[in-house]
Symmetry: C2
Subunit: 348 residues, 2 copies
């Protein structure tokens, strides 16, 4: 057993504080990762504040983890000490169901163990990446090519794969027109990915000030999400629209922008149910779909693709004492585009 | 110009009455069809009652038309006099847009002309199949193999194609599990089609009395739509669920029954928007989709498939004076499974 430094919150709206947690002794298929950076995902805040009422405290969030392999178990084949490695939002799954066997562990129909606020096979709560080290089975760790800086890599294990997977699944590529709603933590990676895949990419956002960034990141077009003229002009023009925003959007307005057989992928989980007119789907044989992050093979594919195309998250590096302030700023939309915690600031 | 007998309604909740309407003089690519039977679709009632407020009166409904070719224009190649022919819910489209060129005229992005309550190229309102004859361009008429009785064929041009198209599009076939919600005019054809395509077919209906019919029509399983145990037992088990009911159903309950990458196809247009929890779609990467009838090539494929597999609508033949009573019975769910008007009763 390893005792390590971490940052936890002890209740809804309680500030983060220094603590220690335990990581299990390395098993034969485990890797020990010295965490370098942990991204701050919007869902970390939801868990910290227990907005769904299911948070186990003390909570150590963090499922966008990048670091360096410090030790490997006897049977580990994928990693050597010194390799760069990442962990996303899962650390275990049943490995036996159809979905796990297809490498789509995110849809495990058995017992999926999330990186934090979940119960592991040992019966103990899992703790995330706001901590010095993590021990995971090598199956749930991803090799990070050394050309991707670790700070820019960390957010890819949630924000990156959550966009990469639907872009691939619904065939973003040459000749396809893709729209991404929200230029935030997810969207700013999504536009880079869509372009690198060869698709035409349009960004919708509420903030006119994001136009320059959208274009710099590769967008072919940028539209203000409240611009009625854009919605007239772009009727039936997209093959795929991905909404990255956690709030409700006017689904009927966006569905009208889908060409025949187009798909609107909703990634957010707003408080209220999604509402859509039946005719919005009947016309043009449109679909409304959802996806959850990605499986391990696809996550490896994603980071390799990012390395090949020079893609990374744009990050603001913060110290471990700045988590509360970062949460406030993230809730206010004041980040371009992802906070990552420099875990070195936790070792003191 | 041909003056023919028809039945019309002159306002919401006004009874049907005998009238005459005009059909255009045969153009070079037109066929004249002596209508033998016209099916009564639920949407006929919606139009007759102007539930969407867009009905032009006097209204001659009917878009499930089967009959015999009585004359052909000089350039017609697909039909000869004496052939059996059908017409569905469209009689014209732009022919130029991507969707028309793909043979998916139901998604025409230009000007689609519906069989009734629409304005044709001549600027006049279209009149449907509750009439002795119809003149349509051969492109919008379908060859009916003579092995399919005309009364059983008529409903296939709406009820049949509306199920055939999504079953084909979402890959119903061997190894696939399909559920159909509602054993009515659409559903009772859908279950026959799904079975003939080789899929496993389950029917959900509110009426226990329909079990025997569902099984006789080929269903492998029949479930009561209010049976909570069924919803527990069948979690994540279907690849495709098609709802044929015009009312709202509990989408979250049904979505939970879809396996990974499963699709729920909604064909009805309830009064209220569809409501769905975001998580119902995120889990298992599920989709909620809609479709509109089918294009001309697929409608031809559908009727040929029905002929090959001995599929037809189960019909109750009524006289032209019984339309009002049939509407009342259809609204009460008292029909197994489609009313068709014997158009011979109009000629007197």
């Amino acid at each position: 057993m390893l005792t390590i430094h971490a940052r936890c919150t002890r209740g809804p709206r309680q500030p983060f504080e220094a603590t220690t947690i335990e990581r299990r002794t390395l098993g034969p298929r485990d890797v020990l990762i010295d965490i370098a950076y942990a991204g701050i995902c919007h869902s970390d805040i939801d868990h910290a504040h227990s907005v769904r009422g299911n948070t186990m405290y003390p909570l150590v969030p963090g499922h966008e983890i990048a670091g360096v392999v410090a030790a490997v178990g006897a049977e580990v084949t994928k990693f050597a000490v010194g390799d760069h490695a990442g962990v996303g939002n899962m650390v275990d799954s049943c490995r036996e169901c159809t979905n796990c066997r297809a490498g789509l562990e995110q849809y495990c129909s058995g017992r999926r163990v999330l990186t934090y606020n979940s119960i592991g096979r040992d019966g103990k709560p899992t703790h995330g990446g706001y901590s010095e080290k993590i021990v995971v089975e090598e199956h749930f760790a991803i090799r990070i090519p050394k050309s991707v800086p670790l700070a820019r890599a960390a957010p890819l294990f949630c924000a990156g794969i959550t966009l990469y997977s639907p872009l691939r699944h619904w065939g973003a590529g040459p000749g396809k027109r893709v729209a991404i709603i929200g230029l935030g933590g997810l969207g700013h990676v999504g536009v880079q990915l869509a372009k690198a895949m060869g698709a035409h990419a349009t960004v919708f956002d509420l903030a006119p000030a994001k136009r320059a960034d959208a274009l710099r990141l590769g967008a072919d077009d940028f539209r203000i999400a409240t611009d009625a003229a854009a919605f007239s002009e772009l009727v039936s023009s997209f093959d795929l629209i991905i909404s990255t925003v956690p709030a409700s959007v006017d689904l009927d307005a966006y569905l009208a922008l889908l060409a025949r057989d187009g798909t609107f992928v909703n990634l957010g989980v707003p408080d209220k149910p999604l509402s859509v007119a039946a005719m919005s789907l009947l016309r043009n044989r449109r679909s409304l779909a959802g996806t959850l992050s990605g499986g391990l093979p696809e996550t490896q594919e994603m980071i390799d693709f990012c390395a090949e195309h020079g893609i990374g998250a744009e990050v603001e590096v913060i110290g471990a004492d700045d988590i509360d302030r970062a949460y406030d700023r993230l809730l206010a939309g004041d980040v371009r585009y992802r906070f990552v915690i420099d875990i070195a600031t936790m070792r003191s």
